[in-house]
């Protein structure tokens, strides 16, 4: 976060331009002469790339080993590898890309008000690349990320990268081959058991980085973040992609973190239901057509922001020890534990950058303020909301966030945002902004055993869905607010009259550690983060040098504290569930999900204190569980 502070000055929405404006709308019939990220003397075709993998020493060796010198078995395995490569490998069709682009131009104009791209940031990227492998690492909040990135690359004459996608798309008629032709390559979700597939995929990924020219794009969060918070990075793809650097096959790898933000992601309601545990419809082409009705809804704006390119070689510095790998041929080596730790560190660094790059929208800030008012049980008028949004924007900007709130016409901007999110909030006739009561048909009788959590009643859903939805829009702001909030919470909880600054720091660390999984906080940065948060609170005179609350700033203090509340309540319920239901007994994750949700549902119905609809989130309950395990409060065994 300290890094974010230094960036503050340069952080403004200045470089952003709306791609949908008539003079910027990408022309899909233009001559295609893109900038190549990794220029080569000879460019491989997608088919040659696959051949390269098939004939790589690792795969040849593996086939030899598995066939046990049996010629026909060898042929059979070779064919199996070819099939795998055809399943994995990207292809390229310019006509498909152009047609898809024409459709996308139409669709985006229909469903969005704007697609804002930080042009300065993309020009900066174009300046830095050309002679090294490039990894584009965007944040992942929606399936739209898959097409949006390629669309923007096309718009700015940047070669469209290979994009790692899940196999789910392949089962959707037409969609799989469409994505493949626009640069997607596919990986099976779980392939730890299939040795051959694992190696073939790994080799494909390595070759993409090593010998292919387009650059590679993948999501290090591994999946779309349903809660709109950042996720702990998955290191599989990243370590495969960085292997050529560690082994000394390439001089450097350029990493470009990208923040993609949506006013309203297409999947918003699906995510809410998924986190509540209501079964998610399987992706199918029919479902996609049904989803087309979401195309009638205005989804507001999208924001794409490219980060400063990171040179992996510079980032690792002297810890990149290539002597270690100079002793053996590359294809017989693997990364060491130490190197995997470095990959992990880089992964976390990238996640942190992505969060810095994500634009906070008017609605994000408004949700935060409404949530606080609801927490205080106070009604909110439009004027109050406008003031609140201004106040919070100032703090968020000062903390380093990129906020798309302009100070002119603030009320109409808020009204626009409310219109996009009319399924969550509405402006009532009395001028107050209130939560919607959605119409939810009685949930069809579902197979209880298939549920991930407790079978929630329709009534609970009706009451919780809007507040739950509101919370996930608060979540992107928490990256900036949560740690100052921890400081305030610790100070508030100090009962004794005299306490030392060490007491505060220690308690802060403890709290931070408990929520380190929830908010992807790096333990190495705890001192830095503590000092930054404390200094911020003192500098903005929220907290005095003697750790007293400034009474004039009581509103912002309560807002800060209200951001922690849903998570605190959730963890509290998880703990109480464990103590009440599972005392001294073993339980599975699913047992806990069911019982904790049941407990929260009862709490919501009886309107007790310390309960928030977000406590129903299966996401947070299971994160709480892993945090308790990480903090050695619980032990985990494998059956």
């Amino acid at each position: 976060m300290a890094r974010a502070q230094t960036d503050t000055k340069s952080k403004s929405m200045k470089g952003f331009h709306n791609l949908l404006e008539p003079d910027r709308l990408p022309c899909m019939t233009k001559v295609w002469q893109p900038q190549i990220p990794n220029r080569k003397d000879n460019y491989l075709s997608p088919e040659q790339l696959k051949l390269n993998v098939l004939e790589s020493p690792r795969i040849v060796r593996l086939i030899e080993e598995l066939s046990g010198n049996d010629k026909s078995k060898k042929q059979e395995l070779r064919r199996a590898v070819q099939d795998m490569l055809n399943e994995i490998g990207l292809t390229r069709s310019m006509p498909v890309i152009r047609w898809a682009g024409i459709c996308l131009n139409k669709i985006l104009k229909k469903i969005c008000t704007a697609v804002y791209v930080n042009e300065e940031s993309i020009l900066r990227v174009k300046k830095c690349i050309g002679s090294q492998p490039v990894l584009y690492l965007p944040s992942h909040r929606s399936y739209a990320d898959f097409v949006l990135m390629s669309y923007i690359c096309f718009a700015y004459d940047l070669e469209i990268p290979g994009i790692a996608a899940g196999m789910d798309f392949l089962s959707m008629v037409g969609v799989g081959s469409l994505l493949r032709k626009t640069g997607a390559f596919f990986m099976r979700r779980s392939f730890a058991s299939d040795k051959l597939y694992w190696h073939v995929f790994k080799e494909y990924m390595r070759s993409l980085v090593n010998v292919y020219h387009t650059g590679v794009e993948f999501f290090i969060e591994g999946t779309r973040s349903r809660s709109f918070k950042a996720l702990t990075p998955k290191l599989g793809l990243l370590s495969m992609a960085l292997e050529p650097l560690f082994m000394g096959e390439v001089v450097d790898i350029t990493i470009i973190p990208i923040g993609v933000a949506y006013d309203k992601p297409l999947e918003e309601q699906l995510f809410v239901y998924e986190m509540l545990g209501v079964p998610k419809p399987k992706e199918s082409t029919m479902a996609l057509f049904k989803a087309l009705k979401i195309l009638d809804i205005n989804h507001g704006s999208m924001y794409v922001n490219f980060g400063e390119p990171i040179s992996a070689r510079d980032y690792f510095g002297l810890s990149l020890n290539r002597f270690e790998h100079a002793q053996l041929p590359v294809h017989v080596q693997q990364l060491t534990k130490r190197e995997l730790d470095l990959v992990n560190k880089l992964g976390r660094h990238v996640i942190s950058h992505q969060q810095n790059l994500i634009v906070l929208t008017v609605f994000n800030v408004a949700s935060l303020y409404i949530n606080y008012r609801l927490f205080m049980d106070k009604p909110t008028s439009l004027q109050q909301l406008a003031d609140g949004v201004m106040l919070l924007s100032n703090h968020l900007k000062a903390l380093g966030a990129l906020v798309s709130v302009e100070y002119t016409n603030i009320k109409s901007k808020i009204l626009d945002a409310l219109d996009v999110h009319k399924n969550i909030l509405q402006l009532s006739v009395d001028g107050k902004i209130t939560l919607m009561k959605p119409v939810i048909a009685n949930v069809q009788t579902v197979n209880v055993t298939k549920l991930k959590g407790h079978n929630l009643s329709t009534n609970t859903l009706r009451n919780s869905v809007p507040a739950f939805s509101l919370q996930i829009y608060c979540n992107p702001c928490l990256r900036w607010l949560i740690q100052p909030a921890f400081v305030l919470l610790v100070v508030k909880s100090m009962k004794e009259k005299s306490f030392s600054s060490e007491d505060i720091q220690d308690n802060f660390f403890r709290l931070r550690k408990l929520f380190s999984v929830e908010f992807v906080l790096d333990s190495e940065l705890e001192n830095e983060d503590y000092n930054f948060s404390l200094q911020y609170l003192m500098k903005s005179q929220i907290l005095s040098q003697r750790y007293e609350f400034n009474q004039k700033e009581s509103e912002i203090i309560t807002i800060f504290l209200s951001t922690v509340a849903p998570f605190l309540c959730c963890y509290l319920h998880v703990i109480e569930t464990i103590i009440e239901v599972f005392k001294d007994t073993e339980f599975t994750e699913k047992d806990l999900l069911v019982k904790a949700q049941q407990r929260v549902e009862n709490g919501l119905n009886s309107r007790i204190d310390h309960v928030h609809p977000y406590c129903l989130s299966l996401d947070s309950i299971s994160i709480a569980l892993s945090s308790f395990h990480l903090n050695k409060i619980l032990t985990k065994t494998k059956r």
Partner: protein
């Protein structure tokens, strides 16, 4: 800060490519286990199950003397090489019997037999602390007298004589079987800490005394038997190098590489029973060295565990312009400096063609001149050997009794050589040849050599004679002669 300054400020960075690194980085950590191949050796860990405890080679293969009927006399004796592992197996060798009797003036009636395996052995010099720690490391070990005796010697005449008729003044106290480089590191570290002497042991075919225990050694002696470290750690076909653990036997190594269409081509006479580590430690030479080189030409890198740490070159390039080359210190160190654990070797494709040949010369001197000229033109095939008249006659004597048809052919050949070409059987000598390579190149080379041979009165004597000469190399090793005994 300049690059150099940064390097200097960081002591962990190794800037010398060839420096011996005491704390060499663990290659076992970066090695992908997928590339490693376990190899089932032809020789079991309990080597006495397959090999003689007191002589050369396989238990089932040896020269025997039996009597046709009645008591054993020079007349009634039948001399045979038993076992079917070699081409002269299980056939009577009447000419050889006669040769032996004539050359050594033997009376087979006085045949001496070897002493049986001893029933008691000298008590081992024990270091309890060391043994306890070895046990804790889960390393296989043995202190049985039989295991100790078998690994107390090489294959010199003195060794064989002592086994058959005497006792060794000192035998080792403990045998350990490490499974990998890391095991050896542990063993050597412990031995160093507890003042235990280490003798590395591979195939036990040494003729240099390097595995003989010093008579007056008072410290406990531990034998590090490398035979269980025989994996092919990795193969790099692109660069044509392979890495084996040092305990792999020559026959296992070539058999496994042959499956992959490759060969190292190092063929010392002992290659069935000697190990890669032994070749390195004794600076071995193979009979096909003209093409493939001696062991020092084949080795790219060696890993050796010493009591001061692991010595290895920190880069895999086959040659670097920096020195001194520590491989040269390891090669021929006879186990005195450390235990060789892993070796990277050059490999080649199996030759498209292998051709045997032989040349006969009227006199040894002609042969020498011919081979000199072949050497001057650098025309040596994979192997070329000049054999003097004594050995020529000895080689002829190892032929089995010919049947009628063969004896006629042989008679005609002999007549052609002695009567028409006027070779004197008592003075003539033979050169045996092995060609390996592409068919065209082999044919051309053979032709050129024949032209040179003609200049010195040499005659091509056919492939069979040449092939026989090379195959018998492995049989001849079974003869370890001394005054008091002949066969074992």
């Amino acid at each position: 800060m300049s690059e150099l300054e940064r390097l200097e400020n960081n002591s962990e960075v190794q800037i010398n490519l060839c420096s011996p690194t005491v704390a060499a980085s663990e290659t076992s950590q970066i090695l992908d286990t997928l590339s490693t191949k376990e190899i089932v050796s032809a020789v079991p860990r309990e080597r006495q199950e397959l090999l003689k405890w007191n002589g050369w080679g396989y238990k089932d293969s040896k020269f025997t003397v039996t009597s046709k009927d009645g008591p054993l006399t020079n007349d009634s004796a039948i001399l045979k090489f038993v076992g079917n592992r070699y081409p002269i197996g299980d056939t009577e060798l009447p000419y050889f019997k006669q040769w032996v009797i004539d050359t050594f003036n033997l009376d087979l009636a006085n045949k001496k037999s070897a002493q049986p395996m001893p029933s008691s052995y000298p008590a081992p010099v024990v270091c309890n602390e060391f043994s306890e720690k070895i046990k804790k490391l889960n390393i296989l070990y043995s202190d049985s007298g039989e295991d100790r005796l078998i690994r107390a010697h090489g294959q010199t005449l003195y060794d064989i004589h002592t086994l058959r008729e005497g006792t060794f003044p000192r035998i080792p106290d403990l045998i350990v079987w490490p499974r990998c480089h890391a095991d050896v590191v542990q063993i050597v570290k412990l031995a160093h800490a507890h003042d235990v002497a280490v003798i590395p042991f591979g195939g036990g075919t040494s003729v240099s005394g390097s595995i003989t225990c010093p008579k007056n050694e008072a410290r406990p002696i531990v034998i590090v038997d490398t035979s269980q470290m025989n994996r092919m750690l990795w193969l790099d076909k692109e660069n044509m190098v392979v890495c084996f653990e040092s305990g792999i036997f020559g026959q296992d190594l070539e058999r496994e590489l042959k499956k992959l269409g490759l060969t190292v081509g190092h063929e010392p006479d002992s290659y069935e029973f000697s190990t890669l580590g032994g070749w390195v430690a004794t600076r071995a030479s193979g009979m096909k060295k003209n093409v493939y080189g001696n062991i020092e030409d084949l080795v790219v890198r060696v890993k050796m565990v010493t009591c001061k740490g692991v010595l290895e070159r920190n880069c895999s390039a086959p040659r670097v312009s920096i020195g001194p080359d520590f491989n040269q210190i390891i090669l021929g160190s006879e186990g005195t400096l450390g235990v060789v654990t892993e070796v990277v070797l050059k490999v080649r494709k199996l030759p498209a063609m292998k051709l045997y040949g032989s040349l006969i010369f009227p006199m040894f001197d002609n042969g020498v001149k011919c081979l000199r000229e072949i050497a001057e033109y650098r025309l040596q095939p994979a192997s070329i050997r000049l054999i003097d008249n004594d050995q020529f006659i000895f080689g002829q004597s190892l032929k089995p009794q010919a049947n009628f048809f063969h004896s006629i052919i042989d008679g005609m050949k002999k007549a052609y050589v002695t009567k028409i070409k006027r070779f004197d059987v008592k003075r003539m000598c033979v050169a045996t040849l092995v060609f390996e390579g592409e068919e065209e190149a082999v044919k051309r080379q053979e032709k050129q050599i024949n032209i040179i041979a003609k200049k010195y009165g040499g005659l091509p004597a056919g492939a069979t004679n040449g092939e026989r000469g090379y195959l018998l190399t492995f049989v001849i090793a079974y003869i370890r002669v001394s005054k008091s005994f002949l066969f074992h």
